[in-house]
């Protein structure tokens, strides 16, 4: 299992702040996870260019491999400061 967190309009469009996802057998990358989540949350993941990902609180590329217990967050480009 992994924890998936959503922030800003990804939270609004998924209607979720957090959900638990079972990792499928075999290797799963961030890109694979996005495909899985897009099937559930089509509106939230419609424009993938505007989605950023962090794995265990570090920015992560689509190629990063996930492991059980990871905290994976999806959010738009940051706009603080």
């Amino acid at each position: 299992m992994i924890d998936v967190l959503y922030f800003a309009w990804l939270r609004e469009r998924t209607g979720l702040a957090e959900e638990r996802i079972a990792l499928p057998a075999g290797t799963t990358t961030v890109a694979d996870l996005i495909e899985m989540l897009a099937a559930r949350h089509a509106a939230a993941f419609a424009n993938r260019q505007t989605i950023r990902c962090a794995v265990n609180q570090e920015f992560a590329d689509p190629s990063v491999v996930l492991h059980p217990g990871d905290e994976v967050a999806f959010f738009p480009p940051v706009t603080g400061g």
Partner: protein, 154 residues
């Protein structure tokens, strides 16, 4: 050595500078940036409030990493980052960056670096409420990416 604060409370710039420099006689310059809520932007409706959301578990880690990178690049004698979250009105403070060094160039460059990196690498998001009743998430600016990219190492 660095002081990093994230919370809903406002900050006092004078008190933060005093805390950074208390008892020190080796500091020659302190660079400072204060970001504030503004209600006007050309061609956009007036902003009546800003709400800052963040990713708490990541925020401290991201800010500590940004500060550590500044300390690696410049000989800093002290550094403070305060970022507010929650709802703020026009004119209110959002963010404070302080960098102290023996020389002004290091202090000023580190200050610009810290706010440029913070704007593109720390997990904060702004949502604005507008005077016309609408609201929406603020979009990231390409200018911010360009500003952060200035600091890329060759």
């Amino acid at each position: 050595m660095a002081r990093i604060v994230v919370g809903t409370e406002d900050f006092d710039v004078g008190a933060e500078i005093a805390a950074l420099t208390a008892g020190r006689t080796d500091i020659g310059g302190i660079g400072c940036f204060v970001g504030t809520v503004r209600d006007t932007a050309p061609g956009a409706p007036e902003v009546s409030a800003l709400t800052l959301e963040h990713y708490p578990a990541m925020t401290q880690k991201a800010l500590a990493g940004i500060v550590a990178e500044a300390e690696r690049r410049w000989p800093l004698l002290g550094c403070t980052v305060v970022h507010r979250v929650g709802r703020m009105l026009p004119g209110e403070n959002i963010v404070l960056v302080l960098a102290a060094s023996a020389h002004r160039q290091a202090a000023l460059d580190a200050t610009a670096f810290l706010i440029d990196w913070l704007k593109t690498k720390a997990p904060f998001w702004k949502r604005e409420d507008r005077a016309d009743g609408s609201s929406g998430w603020v979009e990231a600016r390409e200018a911010d990416d360009a500003a952060a990219a200035r600091w890329a190492k060759a």
